[in-house]
Symmetry: C2
Amino acid sequence: MPSISQRGTRLPSSPIRKLVPLSDAAKREGVKVYHLNIGQPDLPTPPKGLEALKHITRTTLEYSPSEGILPLREKMSAYYARFGLQVAPSEIIVTTGGSEAILFAFLACLDPGDEIVMLEPVYANYITLAQAAGVVVKTVTARIEDGFALPPVSAFEAAITERTRGILLCHPSNPTGTVYDREELLQLKRLVLKYNLYLFSDEVYREFVYNDVPFVSALALDIPEHVVVLDSVSKRYSACGIRVGMLVSLNPEVRAAVMKLCQARLSPPLLGQIVAEASIEGTEDYARACYEEYKARRDFFIEGLNQIPDVYSPMPQGAFYTVASLPVEDAEDFCRWLLTDFRQNGETVMMAPAAGFYATPGMGRNEVRLAYVLKKQDLARALELLRASLEAYNKK
Amino acid sequence: MPSISQRGTRLPSSPIRKLVPLSDAAKREGVKVYHLNIGQPDLPTPPKGLEALKHITRTTLEYSPSEGILPLREKMSAYYARFGLQVAPSEIIVTTGGSEAILFAFLACLDPGDEIVMLEPVYANYITLAQAAGVVVKTVTARIEDGFALPPVSAFEAAITERTRGILLCHPSNPTGTVYDREELLQLKRLVLKYNLYLFSDEVYREFVYNDVPFVSALALDIPEHVVVLDSVSKRYSACGIRVGMLVSLNPEVRAAVMKLCQARLSPPLLGQIVAEASIEGTEDYARACYEEYKARRDFFIEGLNQIPDVYSPMPQGAFYTVASLPVEDAEDFCRWLLTDFRQNGETVMMAPAAGFYATPGMGRNEVRLAYVLKKQDLARALELLRASLEAYNKK
């Protein structure tokens, strides 16, 4: 029997999804599981997007162009303009979700052995996708005691070696919810120019910034040839399943290399593009309502978390996640136990152990990543379950 | 300005899609382009599949499980059973089109520098996806003068080195339409066992075998741990745009490594899975009609090709492609000229230069790959255009 590759062996399991077999087993027993582990919004997809599916008249669901359908790219161009960003439709490549944008950006811009600097805790899938591409991830640690603020730029500079080719920023941050201000971004810009790096900026959560500070895109930093923006409509339109993301770059060489990969995979999903296109315009009220809902949930959820004895979460400024510390030694063991053993009135809660969001071994062992994308009453119940389970777990 | 990666630079452009900017320009001038370059079937998607979109009642288009929705995997399991293949739903992983199945198979099973042996002419995207994965492609040449028959197994053995980890077969073949019989497959099986290799078998065109020989799947060779089948519903249901493929393996280690990649990209397209699921059952009449239509087109098109002076195409036994030789020195130059210069009554024809389907430099320079997925009357007109354009080109 042939063995799988070392690459395949070394790939980390998703900390968000690796406990799914345990939650599936619990559900088969009839247990109700509150999912704080995954950023799967429960809000509805814009009705205009859903309606578009009912009005498809084409009888053959053919390939779309490899770069995505033009009307979607035109509407995305207009969308970016609303944020003050000048991006032509030809500078937008539609990808199969944001994850494909990430993988293709790595494959096109970086060679095996090249290094990329990221902040940790980090969106875990970056690490898997970087490893798939043979790219070495170096991390700069943001600390919970600092509210996961951007570390001093000197920490980034210390992580840069002669193999460093890029910095990746998730902004606003999944998993910490941190939002970076213009001054912080300008410091990173200086590094990018000094070391001639790419700045990969994942701006999927751009519309979810809860403080009154305006969101600053990497595209507004006036270093167009260095910037690759990774985007997705998944969270914005509660449509994670349509798999529509974007890679935006004003660097024509980057786009040309990405396009070769796009052509090799032929086409992003046609149906998802139809939904996305219909969801972009005339949905300002929808966007506002989602924003207000997430903001209210954040306020409620973070306050509730911090009321549980020895639980601590900083106040995230954006996105819909937080990383919280728990009064346990090994949060992964606790998360497993929640799914296999803990029940209260036939219910339990699922969380993502945060260790998988750090590249540094040993970091985040007592932390979990939480997504607050449930209705307030479900968040309230999840908080109750967390409080009761911590008590029970620590009495064991 | 940071430079793109050597990997990105070296990636080949798709011979199927790289001339698209020229055809787009011709269309903007009002020219009608007959597309023989791409396997984009013109037949309708099964009405049951299209209908399923109209009946979606969910209001949030959420992520599907990373391995695909269970009802689709169950129906695919029943589908394989119709071909005498025992595959459990848990042995089927739904991918974003067949192309993702290919990429993930390479990433999971092969390390950078590992070698894989393929037949050339080869489906060009295998080469791009292999290069993206750092995998070295070695080819065994099938020759037009032999009707692109499988070369002797000794030719495969000669291509095997100590870094060889797998053989990839496209069966029936895109681009040549060759179908391999049981005896040929058993010879490959002996090699697979002798050198402990993977056998990657792309069986997307399984249902399009026009001779009365039964199609033999790699899954029927009784080497379950060696076989990774790559599949897709794109062509079978004329639904290339839904991006639903499958990776099938009875080797649990392969599936576990592939699943880590699947989790990193979160979910295959939900909407496409809904269409695919609705298209599998109760569509035997549909499948029969497609089969008869493609068979009739094949007979008509290949005969017509061979009637053009100095054009030669073997008779393909499966799929809906052929590789034909033309009386030109440089088929790519000819294909470009067709799009930029040749017009007859405001019409021209687009073909894929075959050189991009060979890994060996210089091979296939006077050949083109042709897909016969147009209506008979359009194929007839495309043949007229080809005849007239060859005459005009060779008079230049």
